[in-house]
Symmetry: C2
Subunit: 223 residues, 2 copies
Amino acid sequence: MLLTSSIQRDIQLLLYDQQNAPNPRRVRIFFAEKEIAYDRKQINIVQGENLSPEFLSINPRGRLPALVLDDGTVLDESVAICRYVEELYPDPPLMGTDTLSRARIEARQRHIEFDGLLPASEVYRNAYPRFQTRGVGGNVGVINAIPDLVTRGKTLMSNFFARLEEDLNHSPYIAGEEFSIADITALCTLDFATTSARIPFPINCPAIQRWYQTVSARPSATA
Amino acid sequence: MLLTSSIQRDIQLLLYDQQNAPNPRRVRIFFAEKEIAYDRKQINIVQGENLSPEFLSINPRGRLPALVLDDGTVLDESVAICRYVEELYPDPPLMGTDTLSRARIEARQRHIEFDGLLPASEVYRNAYPRFQTRGVGGNVGVINAIPDLVTRGKTLMSNFFARLEEDLNHSPYIAGEEFSIADITALCTLDFATTSARIPFPINCPAIQRWYQTVSARPSATA
């Protein structure tokens, strides 16, 4: 409801989306925080719709999300989409407000991606039977799942949670005093890890729990 | 020589560096393009210096590069470092000049990272005997190498080269008409893949070869 009643709709945006996938959700939350309206088209990754000729004509890499601007330009990468929108609609700022804060938020957001979202995705992709020959997402041909990546991914997620707990003991949000894109990436990582990838929520991490409750309570979290 | 005779040195910068690793080289090339001078300290990853208490006090993630600003602030992530420097020294622009070009360059740079640099790193890390218990970089504890990742990484690199060849048939540089950070990432990926990871150079790819010769001939490529 928030989205369709949005105040900002200077341009027509079409998001190729997948409701349960973490990367499209990052963009949806980002848009919700900015109160940007957009149209959505669901592409079912499990059923392989992302590898159909129709979708590959939009994004040859076969990845989601992809955002189509009103002139037909396609932005096919989640953080690039967010940066584009951040520049068009700077309020509320989600990627920093000065040179140093922009760099710090970028660093933290990338830490979360590489240390958390990547191993969580490896656990999911290499454990889920439907992805047995699609161990890597997107248009990369037959890639057999590697069961050892499930074990490894779980170990890496333990490590990730331990460091996140320590970090969140020192700051309210992932990249400091303010909610940012780094929190969005972390929220999507945690929800994806604990649902799709079936990794237990880190229950003995009070700082993560405090942070998780705070960011999950934002209206954008339902996006 | 370029670096020490640089014209831009308003601030003192110390780069924790590793000569042969791709991520520090991305930053060195970026700095060279900007003609920014900086001090360097080599951290030997193979010998585990990145996991020493001394270096972990600089960057708890144990990753390189890390840039220390003159007030002691540490930027510990390669693209975040580049963005910081891009804002301070906008000329020559390496991350775009308007909203759309910035988004497009970011998208392309991230494609190269995920589709090329990541699998090349997996081939290297999981094949090299010295990394047998450090299959993932940084401060993540014992992670055993997974030999299947070597095979998988080589398959993904073939796919990466094929798509890169097609893209470079349509544009002189990775993200379009101008040299950008996406070319820097791709150059470091290709050199790292063909030396450290011992993946053969894609010889039947004339567009990649043309592009490689062009970007390798820039003075910054020696950084």
